[in-house]
Symmetry: C2
Amino acid sequence: MKVSDVGERALVELARRTFKIGPKVKVGIGDDAAAIDIDGRYLIATTDMLVASTHFPQGTTAEQMGHKAVIVNLSDLAAMGAEPLALIFSVGLPRELDVGFVRRMIRGMDLTARRYGAYVVGGDLDESDDITIAGAAFGLASKGQLLTRSGAKPRDVIAVTGQLGAASAGLKILLGRLPAKGYEKLIKAQLEPIARVREGILLVKNGARAAIDITDGLAANLWQISRMSKAKFIIDREKVPIHPLVQKFADRHGFDVEDFAFFGGEDFELLFTVRRRSWKKVQLALKRIGTTAAAIGYVTRGRGVYIRKHGVLEKLPDRGYEHFK
Amino acid sequence: MKVSDVGERALVELARRTFKIGPKVKVGIGDDAAAIDIDGRYLIATTDMLVASTHFPQGTTAEQMGHKAVIVNLSDLAAMGAEPLALIFSVGLPRELDVGFVRRMIRGMDLTARRYGAYVVGGDLDESDDITIAGAAFGLASKGQLLTRSGAKPRDVIAVTGQLGAASAGLKILLGRLPAKGYEKLIKAQLEPIARVREGILLVKNGARAAIDITDGLAANLWQISRMSKAKFIIDREKVPIHPLVQKFADRHGFDVEDFAFFGGEDFELLFTVRRRSWKKVQLALKRIGTTAAAIGYVTRGRGVYIRKHGVLEKLPDRGYEHFK
């Protein structure tokens, strides 16, 4: 059986079953990041690898590659409610690559890391055919203040930060060489995403219970958090905040807007659940730092993810961006 | 200018100059691992990437790949005197790879990590043409108990653990398809290296001041530690402990034994310096756990690395294994 036959989820499950963990490991494989108990605090650690030919559309600049390599890792810390400390990178470079490109890439890493209060403190350089950037990010969280994928409870409000669909619509424009005029924000969302680090910290401080960053698409990430929390998620289609330019772009070209907002991925927004009584407080805390958040549904007893559309409740397909399809 | 024109050392120097670090970063780019102050202790973090076509000779098993990916990272922690906590891995896999291979590889990772008291707690999976394993390891060290590359002081004893040259002689056998009979230990040193984790912790507790793990070869690693400590290193050729099988192998095939023991790399032994008055104590502490250590020279004022051979002092060539030559 080949890697491509079993898919990413089965491989992650294989890893989760294989790797034994000790008592200090509070969260192991299967969440956005790992959490390890170090005398009263949690060390939060995550890794994400980007390979140029798969992850960066043609025309991505060196700075943007460096930027995104930092963001994908910080976003995982954000989804745990952790405060970033530092990043390290193993970078594989083709021998023929221009040194100026490398200089701009690491400058992009440095600027983005520092914008989030983190530093790049180490790395490894190797030769590889394709530009490969494997990052690891470290952060800290207080004990009892951790957002996991398994923390959702019945009656919790399900919510998301920001608006969805922009990054994957931007990718569609780039890959399909569609006219970009008027849609620059979508392209920027794809090439220069942001990480919801401050939002993650506010979420955990204001009583949110579960979170995941939206990388595989809202639908796939809803399924992940619902499976890990062993709870049923009911989503109201009308309440899902879709980026207005995505709606316009989809209408213009006859695309299904849900392909971007539900199944597109790489929004790096936070999908989270929060006690009903804490929801308004969370929303207000986010508003104070200029971030919108929308309640899109609620958690209940049972299993699966369902969506109410035009008054009808149906199962939401569990599909999204996955590396090994 | 291309990446291959400037070489690895220049790229590391570029990164060191580019990345700004904050006050909590005690050790940044340029050492074996980074050290970050977290309330009275140091978080030690390192990353190392292995790419199958460059790092694993033909015939390396899946378990051995997983094993070595853990060792190269733990060895960096050892060189800082840190106690390992956990590892995370970003792994790039070809679509056509057999799932059984992946299973054996991660089993190798798990067994080796746990043998050193560490756990694999997270990861990322991606598609790539060549098997690519980017690991990150983190551990803890007490404040004031840190082995860096810059800590060597005049009058320190220079020493190494174990015996040198086995791993690169083993690589020579594998790459040159030379007869392996009688040299199985050399091949094993290449494919299944060990990390001197307990030794690193004992070194720091017994007053060692500087250390580096021997990955690029004794000569290159001596130059690195001497440059970063701004001191002159004098080595006595007769005292450098060479693996007896390496001597035998070199004699048999007419190779220069120094090509393995000085310029070969991947021994993963610790090269360290220690106050003259602490040397015997360090040697004894290592002996108690069954590890030999040899004093091979001393630190003095000045710059450069010199070696005394047959009564003559000459400059040791600053060359060794480097990824971008």
